[in-house]
Symmetry: C2
Subunit: 138 residues, 2 copies
DNA sequence: AAATAAAACTGTAATGATTACAAGGGGGTG
DNA sequence: CACCCCCTTGTAATCATTACAGTTTTATTT
């Protein structure tokens, strides 16, 4: 399927900028906003970084792309020693510990060639309290 | 075990500031740096935010605490649709797709009361290339 | 083709988290 | 008492992200 159609299907107008960003994203490896911007501004000299942000937000909203959480961006700390997952509620922005599901225990040499030191499992969605509030108010 | 001893065991001098930060971290729920700072400066009026950063970095280095990756601060994007994990190499800062291990498929209602929409599994460690380079140069 | 409205795009400024860095302070040791 | 080391502090710099208002482009209607 052509990129144009992929965007159209999701209700995104397939402008040149959006096509290029989509294609860069598909070809590259987890690029940062700046990487996308730096690389595309050769082809699209008028490109603005704000547009890259806007476009990525749009893609995420329309389920065409995902925002990753990685070690680059850590702004919460935890001290619990029992393995557990984290649930981030997108409504209230709270983080809850989840013990029903745990990050897989990964041996250091589980993945050929890699030395794995830590695994984090993060879930995203709506927490019980926010679900109740949504139901009540609608 | 007393907090003082927990720190000492890891080779961290148990200063008042560090004790308080450790105890706050243990009692609170995934606090941000600012939350820790705001709450402790009542007790420790001279506290500086830099100290909170320094102390947390120290705890992480000594394996007393973990930095979480969450949706709050995401700065990489991905478009792949096959479920896969991400491996963040702490030496070269690259992110690799890992297909040998995948995030557990989590049904929306898998966790009592929660609505789970997405799961991300992130590993941390050293990638094959960096491991080879370390070996060669030492 | 002109007129209009809506949607995309842009640039600048503001915000917020984090880091860099150089200097201050306190406690223990010789 | 002098010295040194480590902890702590404050300011300034950096970097990613967002806010916002204005401009350009595109599509639509006349």
């Amino acid at each position: 399927m052509e990129t144009k159609d992929i965007l159209s299907r999701r209700g995104i107008a397939p402008s040149l900028t959006r096509l290029k960003i989509y294609e860069y994203l598909r070809a590259a490896s987890h690029p940062s906003v700046d990487e996308i911007y730096q690389n595309l501004k050769e082809e699209i000299p008028t490109l603005s970084k704000t547009t890259v942000y806007n476009t990525l937000h749009l893609f995420v909203e329309k389920d065409l792309a995902k925002a990753l959480f990685t070690d680059f961006s850590k702004n919460r700390y935890d001290i619990k020693d029992v393995p557990h997952a984290h649930f981030h509620c997108t409504e209230c922005d709270e983080i809850h510990d989840i013990h029903e599901i745990t990050p897989p225990r990964i041996a250091e040499d589980a993945i050929e060639g890699y030395l794995a030191k830590e695994a984090q499992l993060t879930l995203k969605g709506v927490c019980p309290r926010c679900r109740r509030q949504n139901t009540n108010s609608q």
